[in-house]
């Protein structure tokens, strides 16, 4: 790499603010270089293959009691100067910001996991080889999906004398295999590209697609369910965005009540940003650390940035994001802890006949073995919130649903629409079992992931079948 480092650029921005805005101006700058690449395939061929090498500067400043933020992609002296000048001008024209929480003080950033250099600098040929393995393992089935790598190098500096630097890296693969309109999926997120096994994922997706063929339609109603990790990821995301969001909590739009036993005792939720290769600081420079949001069913806290923390009389938990004044702080690396012992083994009872292949791991096999009549759900899709406070969500199943009877997966079912309150579905007495092994699921954006084992829930409200 040539030219100034991210830390040098961030320091330049802070110095420019001091010079152009005066010593009383408070400012924070984040400079990020990113190399993001995504190899996408459909109809068993790579059809979109993209890469970007970008640099961005985000500046937030507070002057004369007024706040503004801006960003730019030009990191020359002129570009940085223009960014500072226009952000200063914007702040001075803004109405006062009485809720300004001040800057993060100088504090050492926590140690982050090491970055895998091979993943950071992965070539398109490597991603293509993983795709080729996925496609080959699916045999004659039509396949689609992606393999991506992401590397970010980011620095923070503010006028309070705080600075920090970190890198993150991520590899992810997400693919489906298709048979006569029935899809099976396999999805993983890892710190190293070498930890992804395209052949294993392709075989898993193909097995599920084969098992999803010839689905029957079931009537809507309440069913016991076993959710696989991909489906549980959707629960975690919505709980995070709408429930454990400090801004929504302050606005009384969240269900969260710290200290209350709102979930089943089996539920422990921890946001663990450094449990994978993540940046060690948030958008305000606060160190990112593991935060227990729910402990054995009891809600402990919500995520805060400096603004929501000040409003709540708390400390920032390191969850500031760009645009956080509008959207609020987000927990974006949420893990549902697995059961200590895991569910009882039920090898040999999990599937039968045409549904063979629906269950691809021991946790799910054991959980379905306990179901007298219910549904095994692989994935959820297009979930949208009907009411944020009760977190009633509607959405659909996707990539495989099966009927389970007397502990055996007996046949594929057509997709169903549901309308359900997520916290209620995970409430006291509602979780009938957890797998022992959380599986990390990628988000649409690198650096964001959701990790969960399979989960067995007592009741899920399906409000419509595929025919309406």
């Amino acid at each position: 790499m040539s030219g100034p480092t991210e830390l040098e650029l961030a320091a330049q921005v802070v110095e420019l603010v001091r010079r152009l805005g005066g010593p009383a101006t408070q400012a924070e700058a984040v400079v990020t270089r990113a190399d993001l690449a995504l190899t996408r395939f459909a109809n068993s061929a790579i059809h979109q293959n993209v890469a970007e090498s970008t640099v961005g500067v985000r500046l937030r400043l507070h002057v004369d009691g007024r706040t503004a933020a801006g960003s730019g992609s030009v990191v020359t002296a002129d570009g940085l100067g223009a960014l500072v000048e226009r952000t200063l001008a914007a702040a001075r024209l803004c109405p006062p910001d009485p809720g300004w929480p001040g800057l993060a003080p100088p504090t050492p950033a926590p140690a982050a996991p090491p970055v895998d250099e091979a993943t950071a600098h992965a070539e398109p040929d490597q991603r293509a080889d993983l795709v080729r393995a996925f496609v080959a393992a699916a045999g004659h089935l039509n396949t689609a999906g992606y393999c991506r790598t992401a590397h970010r190098s980011s620095a923070f500096a503010n006028t309070a004398g705080h600075s920090a630097y970190g890198r993150s890296v991520e590899a992810a693969m997400d693919g489906i295999a298709r048979r006569d309109g029935a899809d099976g999926v396999a999805r993983r997120c890892a710190d190293r590209l070498s930890d992804l096994d395209g052949a294993e994922l392709g075989a898993q997706a193909a097995a599920k697609a084969q098992a999803a063929a010839d689905p029957v339609e079931l009537p809507p109603g309440r069913y016991e369910v076993v959710f696989e990790p991909a489906a549980v990821a959707d629960l975690l995301q919505n709980l995070s965005w709408y429930g454990f969001n400090g801004k929504r909590y302050a606005e009384r739009q969240s269900f969260a009540e710290p200290g209350a036993a709102q979930f089943d005792p089996a539920v422990t939720l921890v946001d663990d940003p450094l449990g994978a290769s993540g940046l060690p600081f948030d958008a305000e420079g606060t160190g990112r650390r593991a935060l227990t949001l729910v402990e054995a069913g009891t809600t402990r806290t919500v995520a805060h940035d400096r603004r929501t923390a000040a409003e709540a009389g708390a400390e920032s938990t390191g969850h500031a994001v760009a645009g956080g004044a509008t959207w609020g702080p987000m927990a974006r690396n949420l893990r549902l802890s697995g059961a200590a012992a895991g569910p009882a083994s039920a090898v040999g009872r999990s599937t039968t006949g045409t549904a063979a292949g629906a269950v691809v791991d021991a946790d799910t096999a054991a959980l379905t073995a306990g179901v007298r009549r219910g549904l095994l759900v692989t994935d959820l899709w297009y979930t949208r919130v009907l009411d944020p406070k009760s977190l009633v969500v509607t959405g659909l199943t996707r990539n495989g649903v099966w009927l389970v009877e007397d502990g055996t997966v007996v046949r594929a079912v057509r997709d169903l629409r549901f309308t359900e309150s997520y916290p209620r579905a995970l409430g006291p007495g509602a979780v009938l079992g957890l797998g022992a092994r959380p599986v990390r699921q990628p988000d649409r954006v690198d650096g964001v992931w959701w990790e969960a084992p399979s989960v067995r829930l007592a009741s899920w409200h399906f409000t419509g079948g595929a025919s309406g």
Partner: protein
């Protein structure tokens, strides 16, 4: 070195490295947004981004590379990398890729703009949002929110076939929302829609929305909704306001007629489509009142442009005519694969994103009625308006939408307000049940259409007016 020079260098480098076709887009986008809450400015952001993206075709495989640097060396390096990425794609090759012909032109185009939105003083824009949100708070809203957004995009397009096109597109819009919080739920009312109305226009659009004049009413309605009766469950006649119908078009028609979805290119993420190309020209999509056009030429609508992002000129086409499916949203490669002779609907969300099939302005042509006539002709039904939630399956068939507000319709008159109105159905069955359509058309703008991996946010337009649908299932709840 001009923007055209950088794009040309990137294209030439891609060709020199072995591409048989290449194109490049330089984009310079300025973005400004402001949000206000309960009488205070919550956030002001001004972003500026400049860069170049180059796309290379090698054999039957595409590669794309983007950089934020317009120097000759960086542009050439991006071109070479795009070709190298395309060569890697050939490890998992697909069928031959052709491009439908498009005349190579040198052209300039700019969207209409009376009042430069970035030129309006921030203090004036702030005062507008502060005033409106203060009024909502004073009239009972627990959360009074307002925002505007502005995009000012200049782009330069060069292709190895000889295109040389520059465009400047200015977009803006805004809106206000009032939320009242009860013991177990929240209720929201917005104007003119949640997160606002948008177009390829200047600040005159925001002025025309007259946010301040509607602040008190929506605040009071959000409070009243907390104690309103719930929308009853069952089948009934459903009247949709124009804003909700725009969303219905977007989700259950616009995405369904995207050719990349139909061809399976989006199967793993956005999904496919229930439509089968073999039925293009013959399939009954909806009632005879249903006439949907793809029209990027509508002045001021959010999905308008002079040329799409692979150099095809803006052209109006039919998607559904008299209820029959007749057209798709396509790009040059997808059209060739489907043996169609037109593209024209490909756009990229900025310089760092690959151009892909996106909606332009996909909307309903006006009908013969008015909303009041539709209400008067309805004996028993529900009127719903302003979208609150939207969900639809990956084939764009099974949908469930929630609205901010409903009104009981009894014997041709609007009655009580209803809370938590939802409706659900299957796309073509729903559209076939449309029996009355208003001519009070508004080109609603949707600035948040997500698609693609990496994710892209598209700006789309949807001309729509109130309409009536028969025997629709309403009142779905947890």
């Amino acid at each position: 070195m001009t923007e055209f020079d950088a794009a040309t260098a990137a294209v030439q480098a891609a060709l020199d490295a072995g591409a048989r076709y290449a194109d490049a887009r330089v984009m310079h986008r300025r973005y400004e947004s402001m949000t206000a809450r309960n009488g205070d400015i919550e956030e002001l952001t001004q972003d500026e981004s400049i860069g170049l993206g180059v796309r290379a075709l090698v054999g039957s495989s595409w590669g794309f590379h983007a950089v934020p640097d317009l120097s000759d060396a960086a542009a050439r390096d991006a071109g070479r990398r795009a070709t190298r990425t395309a060569q890697a794609s050939a490890r998992v090759p697909g069928p031959p890729v052709d491009l439908v012909p498009v005349e190579a032109v040198t052209a300039s185009w700019a969207s209409g703009c009376q009042i430069d939105p970035l030129g309006v003083p921030l203090s004036d824009k702030g005062d507008l949002l502060v005033g409106a949100t203060r009024t909502m708070a004073e009239h009972g809203a627990d959360l009074a929110e307002g925002l505007y957004q502005i995009w000012d995009t200049a782009k330069w397009f060069v292709s190895s076939e000889g295109h040389r096109i520059d465009q400047r597109i200015r977009e803006c819009g805004g809106g206000i929302s009032a939320t009242s919080i009860g013991a177990g739920e929240t209720q929201r009312r917005s104007w003119p829609s949640y997160r606002g109305q948008y177009g390829t226009t200047g600040w005159e659009l925001v002025e025309s929305l007259d946010l301040a004049a509607h602040a008190a009413q929506i605040a009071e309605e959000s409070r009243a909704l907390l104690t309103a009766p719930p929308c009853p469950a069952g089948e009934t006649d459903l009247i949709l306001g124009g804003e909700q119908l725009a969303l219905q078009i977007h989700e259950s028609v616009g995405h369904a007629i995207e050719l990349d979805r139909i061809l399976g290119w989006e199967a793993a993420f956005a999904g496919t489509s229930w439509l089968d190309l073999a039925q293009l020209g013959s399939l009954r999509y909806g009632s005879e009142l249903m006439n949907i056009t793809i029209d990027p030429t509508i002045p001021g609508a959010l999905g308008s442009f002079g040329f799409d992002d692979e150099g095809s000129p803006a052209v109006k086409r039919d998607a559904v005519r008299d209820g029959r499916w007749v057209g798709v949203l396509a790009g040059r490669d997808s059209a060739a694969m489907a043996s169609l002779d037109y593209g024209g609907s490909v756009r990229a969300d900025g310089w760092a994103r690959l151009p892909m099939v996106r909606m332009t302005n996909v909307g309903l042509e006006p009908g013969p009625h008015t909303l009041e006539e539709i209400i008067a002709a309805t004996d028993d039904g529900v009127l719903m308006d302003l979208n609150r939630s939207w969900s639809i399956d990956d084939k764009r068939l099974n949908f469930q939408f929630g609205c901010e507000v409903g009104w009981e319709i009894k014997k041709g008159r609007r009655g009580r307000m209803l809370r938590n109105p939802t409706y659900t159905g299957i796309g073509p069955l729903f559209w076939r049940s449309m029996d009355m359509l208003s001519g009070e058309t508004v080109p609603w703008g949707t600035p948040n259409c997500g698609k693609g991996q990496p994710g892209q946010t598209g700006h789309t337009g949807h001309p729509a007016a109130p309409a009536r649908f028969r025997n629709v299932r309403v009142g779905v709840s947890a």
